[in-house]
Symmetry: C2
Subunit: 126 residues, 2 copies
């Protein structure tokens, strides 16, 4: 069940952030993943995107991620997800803060596993 | 040729912005389009997204849009585009300014026409 797989991936992602476990995040990424973080350059490939999440956790104090899926559409081995999320961050020496974002994630099924292929987000105000 | 169609759509979008012609933009949108502009709520459906572009042109003085496609992947009647763009804006009473953005657009083929189905962008620094 593809839909269930992708929801399960999101739960793994949330747990990986809570655990500070970058390896679990890396396991969700396609080899040719592209991530487009706000106010930063586009990141191409699994090593670069893994590094992005490592920095989010280690440098920016990302400790929580709560993901809500709004729409999920399938086209063969491609799935397009629209959603929103709440991030919790505790930067070194600062108070815990939260940020609301909205996102589009494109998942690609490779050898039976749904992996993150495209990931972009920005600030939400809703 | 689907790839050519999507590149042509981007040229129509650029010309529509240059001409301030919101109708031409609306013609590129799927009925169930979702647009996720930064620092704003998610916009659902063609009327809301058309209104977003009308406001960008009329209220924020958007006069130019130069779109570059970085990757374009097809899955049946779905296409996922990653790219970047330069926007030119001349807000009322202010000097002309430009902004660099990067984006993911998901196109959907409906009755033979490729229409914008998902659209999200954020600030670029590259």
């Amino acid at each position: 069940m593809s839909e269930r797989d992708i929801h399960a991936n999101n739960r793994v992602f949330e747990k990986a952030v809570a655990d500070g476990d970058v390896g679990q995040i890396a396991a969700l990424l396609a080899p040719d993943v592209i991530s487009l973080p706000p106010d930063a350059p586009t990141m191409f490939g699994k090593p670069a995107v893994t590094g992005l999440w490592a920095a989010a956790i280690k440098e920016h104090g990302l400790t929580g991620f709560a993901i809500t899926t709004d729409t999920l559409d399938f086209a063969g081995d491609t799935a397009v997800e629209v959603g929103h999320a709440i991030l919790s961050m505790t930067p070194l020496g600062a108070a815990r803060q939260t940020a609301k974002v909205k996102f589009v994630v494109v998942w690609k099924r490779l050898n039976g596993a749904w992996l993150m292929h495209r990931d972009i987000w920005n600030a939400d105000v809703s």
